[in-house]
């Protein structure tokens, strides 16, 4: 199971009819069990890239081979169904999930008190957590996360990072996530893709050899320091 | 100074023909009247015009006038035409008498309370036939039923005289006119069901004008009764598609010109009212069982 990305270009036409190039050449592969991190300046095309990889946008130049797998996705905004409760939103995406799993997920994400709330009654952070619960509940083989830890407090974010690490370790799944936090990237990622400003191309790939579970605080600080020295304008 | 009379007239109705003749011959000027025509597109619109106060005179039937009087609206009626509905059948139809309608599919124009339909039912009841339950009745709008009959969908059609005339011209057979059953129901003659309808107070206040108006329309009727060329002049108004239809219109129209004294009309009306009340019931006549005595307008000199 492998994701092969060979995008040669992607552009939007805006309402006025002008062309707007968003992606230049983006080539990489990602294997099962690997966590890829996409890192790049705001508006460079990260979400656009993720949508193409998720199979939501077919209107690009190039070729993407992705195995026919179960996808779990966290969009940059929560994208919940406003007319369904928190629990219904999760169950609609994952009809087969059992009660124990849901309860455990809601527990970790501190959503138990909000189970029967409608999305309009949630804070943004809560809504983002519901989106995370939904993506986890489908037990995906391919997990796409667009800034999953934004808008959460540090304590919670830390716990969620561990949760994601556990999940990734427990199943051989491909994971791809976008973050602006170098710390998150280095702690969770196996391969870090640094993108240029729009139109985005990969300007640097950092492969972290040390196994995730075995990375010491020292390792992490070292990698961060090294990356800081490279002139990747957009960290 | 000519007095103004406002008349509600259906654009396709016979009243419009007469009004055209009146205008063409300057009869209105001769009568020192100024005729204001409120042109309308449907038969019921006249009643609205009268009630709303936009017209002084319209055309309707005396059972309705009597009903209105019993309900408090003091209207009056003066005979205008005795032309009345007829039952038409295809030329080759096996239906020879009205009694043969039993078990057939009969299209009835004007709905359940149409006067011709009530008369037909009353007449056949005397022969022990209850047409309403013993045959298939199809109610509908008159033009639609005429077209359906022509298309062969109906065994017979009871319709207004003008649609019957059109069917006649298409080769349909006139099984019976409703004037034929009147005698059986106790009427002494050919009664005019249709007439001018106006408000009693208005008529009282304009006695002279009303008299001149009636005289003027008689004159117009006389012209239409005697002159064939006049019919060619009004042909476009009738909407007759061919000469045969126009001829049928002409003949039926002439037959329908009322010529009897008003007292005779009223006497017959009183008899027929009871018949209609019996068949049509409360719905048709309201709570009154007798013709309201003031229904007929009596103040025309010489009647």
């Amino acid at each position: 199971m492998q994701l092969e990305v060979n995008i040669t270009g992607k552009s939007f036409e805006n309402a006025a009819g002008k062309r707007h190039d968003v992606l230049a050449a983006i080539n990489f592969t990602l294997n099962a069990g690997e966590v890829g991190v996409v890192f790049g300046p705001s508006g460079c095309g990260k979400s656009t890239l993720l949508k193409i990889l998720a199979g939501l946008d077919h209107n690009y130049q190039g070729r993407v081979v992705r195995p026919g797998v179960r996808l779990g996705m966290v969009f940059q905004e929560p994208r919940l169904l406003p007319w369904r409760t928190v629990e219904e939103n999760v169950r609609l995406a994952a009809p087969d999930v059992d009660e124990a799993r849901i309860a455990a997920l809601f527990d970790v994400l501190e959503l138990t008190a909000h189970r029967h709330h409608f999305p309009g009654e949630l804070s943004l952070g809560l809504a983002r957590r519901v989106a995370l619960a939904r993506a986890f509940a489908v037990e995906p083989n391919f997990l796409i996360l667009d800034e999953p830890l934004a808008s959460l407090d540090n304590a919670l974010a830390g716990r969620l990072r561990e949760q994601i690490a556990t999940l990734v370790a427990s199943r051989r799944m491909m994971t791809l996530f976008v973050t602006h936090d170098l710390d998150d990237a280095v702690r969770l990622g196996d391969r870090l893709f640094f993108l240029s400003a729009r139109p985005a191309r990969i300007i640097h790939v950092e492969t972290i050899a040390a196994l995730r579970a075995k990375r010491s605080e020292q390792d992490i600080a070292d990698i961060k320091a090294r990356l800081a020295q490279l002139d990747l304008a957009n960290m | 100074e000519a007095e103004t009379i406002r008349i509600a007239s259906q654009k396709t109705g016979t009243l419009a023909w007469e009004l055209a003749v009146i205008r063409a011959h300057g009869l209105d000027k001769k009568a020192n009247l100024s005729i204001d025509v409120v042109e309308l597109a449907s038969p019921e619109a006249g009643k609205i015009a009268l009630r709303a106060g936009n017209a002084d005179v319209m055309v309707s039937d005396w059972p309705w006038v009597s009903r209105e009087r019993s309900l408090g609206a003091k209207l009056q009626f003066y005979p205008y035409s005795s032309a009345i509905g007829a039952v038409m059948v295809p030329a080759a139809s096996p239906i020879k008498t009205l009694a043969d309608l039993k078990g057939r599919k009969l299209a009835v124009a004007g709905g359940a309370i149409d006067k011709s339909w009530l008369l037909l039912q009353a007449a056949l009841k005397q022969d022990g036939i209850d047409l309403k339950s013993q045959s298939t009745i199809v109610y509908g709008a008159p033009p639609l039923l005429a077209a359906k009959t022509q298309g062969g969908e109906m065994d017979a059609n009871l319709n207004y005289w003008n649609f019957c005339a059109a069917l006649e011209a298409k080769g349909f057979r006139r099984l019976a006119g409703m004037e034929d059953v009147l005698a059986k129901l106790g009427s002494k003659g050919r009664i005019a069901m249709i007439g001018y309808v106006f408000d009693e107070t208005w008529a009282d206040a304009n006695k002279d004008a009303v008299a001149r108006f009636i005289a003027m329309t008689r004159e117009a009727k006389q012209i239409l009764a005697t002159s064939d060329t006049e019919w060619d002049a009004i042909a476009p108004l009738t909407g007759a598609p061919d000469a045969a239809t126009l001829r049928a219109y002409r003949d039926r129209y002439r037959e329908g010109i009322p010529r009897r004294p008003i007292a005779d009309e009223e006497a017959d009306a009183r008899v027929l009212y009871r018949v209609l009340a019996q068949v049509g019931g409360r719905e048709l006549v309201g709570s009154a069982t007798e013709l309201d005595p003031g229904t007929f307008y009596q103040a025309i000199p010489g009647d």
Partner: protein, 245 residues
């Protein structure tokens, strides 16, 4: 409660108006009520109301189902829209009379012709409303459903339908009223019973109380259905909307 107050207010307004304008021009409530009772006692009211309601129900269901489907397709597929649009405008702007007359001519003076004609009259307004609804659908939620591989039925029921709900409600309410206006014409022109037929009779007799008795009976039926069935259902469905603070 408030509904009752509002209703009482309506009756009062009517009564006062009839006193001011005069009985002949607007019969007061008791007169109309008496006419209603007479019709009810003879059973005619129920027979006619029943016949009309049956026609309304059939034509309405048919037109709403078909119209919603077509409208949805036209809203989502620009090609279908561009092809169908001239037909739609034509159908929208054909007079009810013409459609009904043509239907009666082609299919005979039958129940089927009447119901088909009514449905055809209502159809395009449902199409137009649902088309707007389909155009306003949120693509973000569509993407979500695709990403999580929702099967079509689930997408439709949980993602699309709740977004279309206000449009369906609008189409249904104004549609019911349109169907009711048209069923009367259809009954007037070629049916032997129904409220429209009776209204035709009342109109021929120019019997205003009877006219109002039948009209208001139907309105009352709709009012009861709304209050007891539709509105509780709607409230349930729109629980998720935030009440204004």
């Amino acid at each position: 409660m408030l509904r009752l107050v509002s209703f009482a207010l309506f009756i009062a307004t009517w009564w006062i108006a009839s006193l001011l304008i005069g009985d002949a021009k607007l019969p007061p409530p008791p007169v109309v009520l008496a006419a209603m009772l007479t019709e009810a006692k003879s059973g005619a009211l129920f027979v006619n109301l029943g016949a009309t309601l049956a026609r309304v129900a059939l034509a309405f269901t048919l037109a709403m189902a078909l119209g919603s489907a077509i409208g949805y397709l036209m809203g989502r597929m620009p090609l279908a829209n561009r092809l169908g649009d001239p037909w739609l405008i034509l159908l929208l702007n054909l007079p009810a009379l013409v459609v009904i007359v043509l239907a009666y001519i082609w299919a005979g003076l039958t129940e089927v012709a009447a119901i088909a004609a009514i449905a055809i009259n209502k159809l395009p307004t449902a199409v137009v409303t649902l088309r707007e609804g389909a155009r306003a659908l949120d693509p973000a939620l569509d993407e979500m459903a695709t990403a999580f591989a929702f099967p079509p039925a689930r997408t439709f029921r949980h993602v699309i339908l709740p977004q279309l709900a206000p449009y369906i409600a609008a189409a249904a309410r104004s549609g019911l009223s349109l169907v009711w206006k048209i069923v009367l014409v259809a009954e007037l022109l070629g049916r032997p019973n129904g409220v429209g037929f009776e209204i035709g009779v009342a109109f021929q007799l120019f019997d205003i109380p009877l006219l109002l008795a039948y009209s208001l009976s139907f309105a009352a039926v709709v009012l009861v259905i709304e209050t007891l069935l539709v509105q509780p259902f709607e409230t349930r469905l729109s629980r998720w909307r935030l009440r204004a603070a």
